[in-house]
């Protein structure tokens, strides 16, 4: 079920009305479990069974792990959980990719093998709910979480519908404590949740889909060479589109959860105002970057190992982060590129961080724009359907096609320029703040007018919108 659909409007109104009219906390939680499974099953009912089986297995494995005496047996239960989750993800998401690469490898040594094409349908949001569920057993192993006694609570923690299919990746350890007792609604919480949902939908439907996606699609699917201006505009359009698409979903999820009395953490913190790549990853898809940091980077040694090893670890983590996004080498290159950026940044920081000019305002602004440009270059691999497209785009961006085509209309150029400039301006003005503080500082009439404007613009787009990009992950 898409947030930007009429079905969701009816579903959400019904769930919220039923939820707040029920007094019993247990009945409320039961309602949310049923609602979450309806939300998920409305896409493809049989996959709800897959979701439940993954969840139930991790619940059981978590229990076994907590009962195990020795460190070895605890580790064995953890390995079982990790293998179960990753094999599920591997089969559904990477099955065909692995087969194709296996075929390619065999061909290199002269063996012709024609594997059967597996007609695998990717369960929506499998990458997200696998991580929701996996965080539970990982935290029990790390001794930072005791297993819950309630299967219902754990099922709800994994499948809570606002964050189920496209994040944020809410760890069981962050959500289960909220199920202990009912969270009272604080003054303004419900309506603030509605405003956040409006903002999220506005970002997705109006800014991502209406203002940017058409131009980005046109540029990335154009088969001929493009001049630098159009190439850069296409990449900038995609940079904005993916931010508004994904941040919009997260904002909707946070708003919907608030309306039901739950608190989800921020998933984005004005990422295009980042100065440097470590700063970028503290602001972009925070729930994934902290997941990878806590469960992969730190266990690999984190920053406590020799610099070369730490750099290698960074690249490995970003390689896996890239692969998490999609079963294609272009995603891997995107991840490796970000890993390399992080390594280069460490070296640069080590060399220059104590220089006086390093903290100068001009340096910081320059660093911000350099970060944005480098992130845009990486987005080329994220969006391109294959390396030929990526090479053509990069060729265009760096002046390789001075006599290439200029295909964007003036309207499209204006839309990209205005939305990108507005986005960067907002990110920089709020980079050390948050949206709540910003809203508090605004005059009441500005809040009212902005909310009304966003709602009217959403109505004007008439829901003729695409699915969220991150659904495919």
């Amino acid at each position: 079920m898409l947030f930007n659909s009429l079905t969701f409007v009816v579903f959400f109104v019904t769930v919220v009305a039923a939820y707040w009219s029920i007094r019993s906390w247990n009945a409320r939680k039961n309602l949310l479990v049923v609602a979450s499974y309806i939300f998920y099953g409305a896409w493809n009912p049989p996959f709800a069974a897959l979701l439940f089986s993954t969840t139930a297995m991790d619940f059981w494995l978590g229990r076994q792990m907590s009962r195990a005496k020795g460190r070895r047996s605890r580790r064995a239960w953890l390995v079982a959980s990790v293998c179960m989750n990753l094999s599920m993800l591997g089969f559904f998401k990477y099955g065909n990719f692995l087969l194709q690469n296996f075929q390619w490898l065999l061909a290199r040594i002269g063996i012709i093998y024609q594997p059967p094409h597996l007609d695998i349908l990717l369960p929506v949001g499998i990458s997200f709910y696998t991580f929701h569920s996996l965080s539970y057993t990982l935290d029990i192993y790390r001794d930072v979480l005791k297993p819950t006694k309630s299967l219902r609570d754990f099922v709800l923690a994994v499948s809570f519908f606002p964050q189920l299919v496209a994040g944020p990746i809410v760890r069981a350890g962050d959500f289960l404590p909220q199920l202990v007792r009912p969270q009272p609604l604080r003054p303004g919480q419900f309506l603030w949740g509605l405003l956040l949902m409006t903002l999220g939908l506005f970002e997705k439907i109006v800014l991502a889909d209406t203002m940017l996606s058409g131009s980005a699609d046109r540029i990335f699917t154009y088969a001929g060479p493009l001049i630098a201006l159009d190439s850069w505009l296409g990449v900038m359009a995609f940079a904005g589109q993916i931010f508004f698409d994904f941040a919009g979903y997260s904002t909707c999820a946070i708003g919907a959860a608030l309306c039901l009395g739950f608190h989800l953490k921020d998933n984005f913190r004005f990422p295009y105002a980042a100065i440097g790549f470590s700063d970028f990853w503290r602001r972009w898809h925070i729930s994934l970057s902290t997941f990878l940091r806590d469960y992969l980077y730190i266990p690999l040694g984190g920053n406590q190992v020799r610099p070369v090893r730490a750099g290698t670890n960074l690249v490995v983590v970003m390689f896996l982060g890239g692969l998490w996004h999609g079963a294609a080498w272009t995603f891997v290159v995107w991840g490796l590129l970000h890993g390399s950026y992080l390594v280069v940044e460490r070296v640069v920081r080590a060399l220059f961080q104590h220089r006086a000019w390093a903290n100068h305002l001009a340096t910081r602004i320059l660093g911000g724009f350099a970060t944005y440009a480098a992130v845009c270059i990486a987005w080329v691999f994220f969006r391109a359907s294959d390396f030929t497209v990526a090479a053509r785009m990069l060729g265009g961006m760096f002046g390789g096609h001075p006599h290439g085509d200029a295909i964007l209309s003036t309207r499209e150029i204006l839309q990209i320029a205005l939305v990108t400039a507005g986005m960067i301006l907002v990110h920089w003005s709020l980079r050390d703040s948050n949206i709540e503080t910003a809203v508090m500082r605004l005059p009441r009439w500005v809040v009212t007018a902005t909310w009304a404007f966003m709602a009217c613009a959403i109505i004007l787009t008439q829901g003729s919108s695409n699915a969220f990009i991150y659904f495919q992950f």
Binding site: S5, A42, P177, I254, M440, I459
Partner: protein, 386 residues
């Protein structure tokens, strides 16, 4: 000796809060405390919300009144979900209309039901290529009914990836992959679309309004030609009917639509990055492939006992001049009939069908579509040996 967990904590250097002993409440799950409570801006939310609701209602009402005042009326949007609901009605022995908007506007379902004894299912679509739907029916092992295929040559041989193929392909794909949520959304949307005039997905969305801004372009900018404005209504059976304003000879709407057909039906120049000869060769191969595919699909249908007839519907004015020049009858129409061996009805071959005039050059008015269908029925019966 410190435990391995302590070592782990030390190495992590995480704050004390994270590892402190759980309180009574927290120990139900034993997890860390609820670390994060989102801040809620303290504003006069009730007043703000009421004002926002009033503004939105007022703005939507004003927009609705304005849209009605300039000629728009409530009607369903022809999207993939509405098409899917029609596709679902196809029974093994159904009569199915496929192809482009001429088969959509020019055939009256009531008249066809009277004349052929069965109510046809309308699967033709505006600006759509017939092939993906024909292929879908050919692959449907249960189907052995009758197909009436409208032919606009340029649309029938539209290459893969072109808008006519995309439009039809998306609808077919949706009919195979429609989720319960999409189906529910369609049922919820229909009553709204039947009462609200500004809900026009290909006409009055923010995107369409922005596209209409009169901003001059760079010389080489590749701008898609504008689609025709709202000139017809659609019901739940996907019956399309031209609105009276457009049917009125010489009306502004009809004139505006006529102007839009010309660029839409004019072949675009070949892309600059492919040599002209190579492009012509590729296109020639693609068109040949389409003839082969159409013939194969027809063969498959007929092998199961299904019947098919190709129909060329009336078109007039400047559009007729353009179409006859770019896609003469001997080129695509004759080849389709020859390759498939299927019967065809070319409206110009029959004096009683040839006398109709299309107000906007491409489609018949609602009244004419009934008369045209009445006159077409004997020809259909003969062609289909019914």
């Amino acid at each position: 000796m410190p435990s391995s967990i302590s070592n782990f904590k030390r190495r992590l250097r995480l704050p004390r809060l994270f590892f402190r002993k759980p309180t009574q409440v927290e120990s139900v799950h034993g997890g860390p405390p609820l670390e994060y409570v989102r801040p809620i801006p303290q504003l006069a939310w009730r007043g703000i919300t009421v004002t926002v609701v009033l503004i939105v209602i007022a703005a939507a009402s004003a927009w609705e009144l304005y849209c009605r005042s300039i000629g728009y009326g409530p009607t369903l949007n022809d999207n993939e979900d509405l098409w899917t609901s029609a596709r679902r009605r196809v029974k093994p022995e159904s009569i199915v209309i496929i192809g482009d908007s001429r088969g959509w506007y020019d055939l009256d379902l009531d008249e066809l039901e009277k004349g052929l004894g069965k109510r046809p299912v309308q699967l033709a679509m505006g600006g759509g290529c017939a092939y993906p739907v024909l292929e879908d029916l050919a692959n449907d092992e249960n189907f052995h009914g009758t197909v009436i295929c409208s032919v606009v040559p340029r649309l029938l041989v539209a290459p893969p990836g072109s808008p006519p193929m995309d439009r039809a392909g998306k609808a077919v794909r949706r009919s195979h992959t429609q989720t319960p949520a999409q189906r529910a959304s369609q049922y919820l949307a229909m009553p709204l679309e039947e009462h609200v005039a500004f809900l026009k997905q290909e006409e009055l969305t923010l995107d369409d309004l922005l596209k209409r801004l009169p901003i001059p372009n760079r010389p080489n900018a590749q701008v898609q030609p504008r689609l025709p404005p709202y000139f017809g209504t659609l019901d739940r059976e996907r019956r399309a009917r031209m609105i009276e304003e457009c049917a009125r000879p010489g009306s502004e709407l009809a004139k505006m639509t006529q102007k839009i057909w010309i660029p839409l039906f004019t072949p675009p120049p070949p892309p600059a990055y492919i040599p002209e000869k190579e492009f012509a060769k590729t296109m020639g191969q693609a068109i040949n492939q389409r003839f082969n595919d159409v013939a194969a699909a027809v063969q498959k249908l007929r092998a199961r006992g299904a019947k098919i007839v190709f129909v060329r519907f009336p078109y007039s004015g400047g559009l007729k001049t353009l179409e006859d020049r770019e896609t003469p009858r001997a080129g695509i129409w004759d080849r389709v009939l020859k390759d498939t061996g299927a019967p065809g009805i070319y409206y110009e071959d029959f004096p009683d069908l040839a006398g109709f005039n299309c107000p906007e050059w491409s489609h018949l008015s609602a009244g004419d579509s009934m008369e045209f269908t009445k006159r077409l029925i004997p020809r259909l019966r003969a062609a289909l040996q019914m």
